[in-house]
């Protein structure tokens, strides 16, 4: 595959939360790059740190959380060092837009959609005339297959699917090159979710978007991404091109994750449950955080966090089972 320029590169990123019971390292030493024009999926369960990563990129972490190490390079600029004002002026929304699971809360319930979108557009593009703004809004809604009628509605009058479409339109308002979808279709019904994901794929082409798609659902990841990054309890366990990931997952957790999802076709065999629970992040297991639940666990798993091993073809895995393979160096790390 072509080596493409990386638009977003996370280098040794660590994020910690301060809680009343101690510090929680929600993201530990994470390396990840998202090449321009591609879309990368972050898959993980609750507490895996996937949403924390999204919040860290836009520097929208809650007050009790902080980036404790590493860098967030976006187009060569380290977002981790910028001020809030700088981020607002040039980065948030203009360069990186984000759609959350429950977007209704982002809009005021007492104003019509049109007035709210119009206000936001005016803030960002003060030069546009009223008519131009209206045309732009109509175009955006058409891009997400919504009629102009939506503009004259209040947020609560829209269905969940229409609301998420509106939020995607809002995300595209300033033509950002980078879009983050954080569980954006999780609360939606099956058909609506599939329709919106297909539109996301189309918009990625049309607007030449680079995307980071965060989900707990491997089906969503499969439908929208080129490459998959698997997170478990704050550690990046595996990175692989999508096909590789589904056909030949390397990390025991990746394998267990894929094996635990019921399928619509194929033999109906008993699902292999992953025994145990997610670790307590206040007191995480030393070394590999999946070790306590891993069927292949060795004593060495608990001595140190294993490095990422390079399996070739863009697949990297953090597991001692692959220690015969070369260790990947983040600086050279690229993804398919």
């Amino acid at each position: 595959m072509n080596q493409t320029r990386s638009l977003l590169t996370l280098n040794h990123l660590s994020v910690a939360y301060r809680t009343s019971r101690g510090a929680v390292q929600a993201v530990q030493d994470l390396d990840l790059s998202v090449p321009a024009g591609r879309s990368v999926g972050l898959v993980g369960e609750s507490g895996s740190g996937k949403s924390t990563i999204a919040a860290a990129i836009l520097r929208l972490l809650p007050e009790n959380a902080a980036i404790t190490g590493g860098s967030i390079a976006f187009n060569g600029v380290d977002l981790a060092t910028l001020s809030d004002a700088e981020l607002n002026r040039t980065w948030r929304w203009r360069e990186i837009a984000m759609v959350f699971q429950k977007s209704l809360a982002a809009l005021s319930p007492v104003n019509r959609i049109h007035d709210q979108l119009n206000d936001i557009l005016r803030q960002h593009e003060p030069a546009l005339r009223e008519a131009e703004r209206d045309a732009r809004l109509s175009d955006l809604l058409r891009a997400v297959h919504l009629s102009d009628r939506v503009l004259h509605s209040y947020p609560f009058e829209l269905s969940g699917g229409m609301m998420q479409r509106t939020m995607i339109a809002l995300g595209l308002l300033c033509n950002p090159p980078f879009l983050i979808l954080d569980e954006a279709t999780t609360a939606l019904d099956v058909i609506t979710q599939a329709q919106i994901l297909r539109e996301v794929n189309r918009l990625k082409q049309e607007y030449n978007l680079t995307a980071l798609i965060i989900s707990h659902d491997v089906g969503v990841i499969n439908a929208t991404t080129d490459a998959v990054a698997v997170l478990y309890a704050g550690q990046l366990m595996e990175v692989a091109p999508k096909r590789r990931f589904f056909a030949a997952p390397a990390h025991p957790y990746s394998r267990a994750l894929i094996a635990s999802v019921p399928r619509l076709s194929g033999p109906r065999q008993r699902l292999a449950a992953i025994p145990g629970n997610l670790p307590d992040l206040l007191d995480p297991p030393p070394g590999c955080r999946f070790a306590p639940r891993c069927p292949y666990v060795t004593p060495r798993c608990s001595t140190a966090v294993p490095p990422l091993y390079d399996l070739g073809d863009g697949q990297f895995v953090r597991c001692v089972l692959f220690e015969s393979r070369p260790i990947a160096h983040p600086a050279e790390e690229t993804m398919a």
Partner: protein, 332 residues
């Protein structure tokens, strides 16, 4: 047919639940009343040890159907027969007896327990309600039930409060709680949709094992057809309060007949290199089922709708002995 098939455990006939909508002043003057048809003429039977999946999108009435069966809600009309007895309007004493045999587990395990009670107190309470066993027997029963569900050492969990446990643990304990009553029928209302992917399989397997060991019948309510396929013997697809089709799970999934089933299946996200096929496009969102008139509920979104679909409500009709579909296309 009835001569060979066993007597059904559960027999639901023409079950209806209408939720009246507050009337406006104009409605009062014109004597109109409006209602949401949450469940509209649902009929099915369930045999002992059988698992029936109710599948559909949010608002299709699948949860209301489950709640009606265990009498958490009362049907507007229709009948629910359990082992031949009509349980639709049981009085409180008989209802309590019925509840020993028909139980329900819910979607949100974090909400299933009184947060002020320890797990032990919550489990004890169930045996106390139905006056089962002495104090020591109860304790032993509870420990055995927890151990049976793989929750060991049980003593570690008994003194805990719900907020100290994970979702997967709570859902397993919620299942243990209802199993203390040894019911013959369990309504499982989206029991894994709030859980982490890695612990879902554990709950699903627990339910399958209970069916196997206790011949317990399950009405498994889910929005996820793949989960329904894994769990169920038969599957009923619901749309706007009514069954679109019902039949053996493999038949329905491999050869869907109703256009809505086709749409639902073709929009299920594949995993890996699974092939799902071209999506059957249907426009819009499901409307709210207010004051449904005649005609097929799905007609407005159905790509195959023709005149008759808007004139006449299709009834569930057998297309083969085990399979029923509510669609006028079947008549051709």
């Amino acid at each position: 047919m009835s001569a060979i098939s066993p007597a059904p455990l559960l027999d639901v006939t023409a079950l209806r639940r209408l939720f009246p909508i507050r009337r406006s002043f104009a409605d009062v003057l014109t004597r109109r009343s409006h209602a949401v048809h949450a469940v509209d003429a649902v009929s099915f039977t369930l045999n002992p040890g059988e698992i029936l999946a109710l599948v559909g999108e949010s608002g299709c009435g699948k949860s209301t159907t489950g709640r009606l069966i265990v009498r958490l809600d009362t049907a507007t009309s229709g009948a629910i027969r359990f082992r031949g007895h009509d349980v639709t309007h049981l009085g409180s004493a008989a209802l309590k007896q019925f509840r020993r045999q028909a139980q329900i587990i819910f979607q949100n395990p974090f909400e299933a327990f009184d947060s002020r009670q320890t797990i032990a107190a919550s489990l004890q309470q169930v045996l106390h309600i139905h006056d089962i066993g002495t104090q020591q027997e109860r304790q032993a029963r509870i420990v055995a039930a927890l151990a049976g569900a793989g929750i060991v050492p049980a003593g570690d969990f008994l003194s805990r409060y719900p907020h100290e446990l994970s979702g997967g643990q709570l859902q397993r304990i919620a299942t243990v709680r209802v199993m203390l009553l040894e019911p013959n029928l369990l309504i499982a209302d989206e029991p894994v949709s709030m859980l982490d992917v890695s612990v879902r399989a554990e709950i699903l397997n627990q339910l399958l094992d209970l069916r196997g060991s206790r011949q317990m019948a399950i009405v498994f309510i889910t929005h996820d057809i793949a989960v329904a396929r894994y769990m169920a013997d038969r599957i009923a697809v619901m749309y706007l309060g009514a069954f679109a089709e019902i039949g053996p799970v493999d038949d329905v999934i491999e050869n869907p007949q109703h256009p809505y089933t086709k749409a639902l299946l073709s929009h299920t996200l594949p995993i890996g290199d699974e092939v799902i096929g071209e999506p059957l496009e249907i426009p819009g969102d499901p409307p709210t089922p207010i004051d449904l008139g005649v005609g097929c509920r799905f007609a407005d979104r159905c790509p195959f709708a023709f005149e008759r679909c808007r004139m006449e409500t299709p009834r569930l009709q057998p297309v083969d002995p085990r399979r029923q579909v509510a669609c006028h296309l079947m008549d051709d």
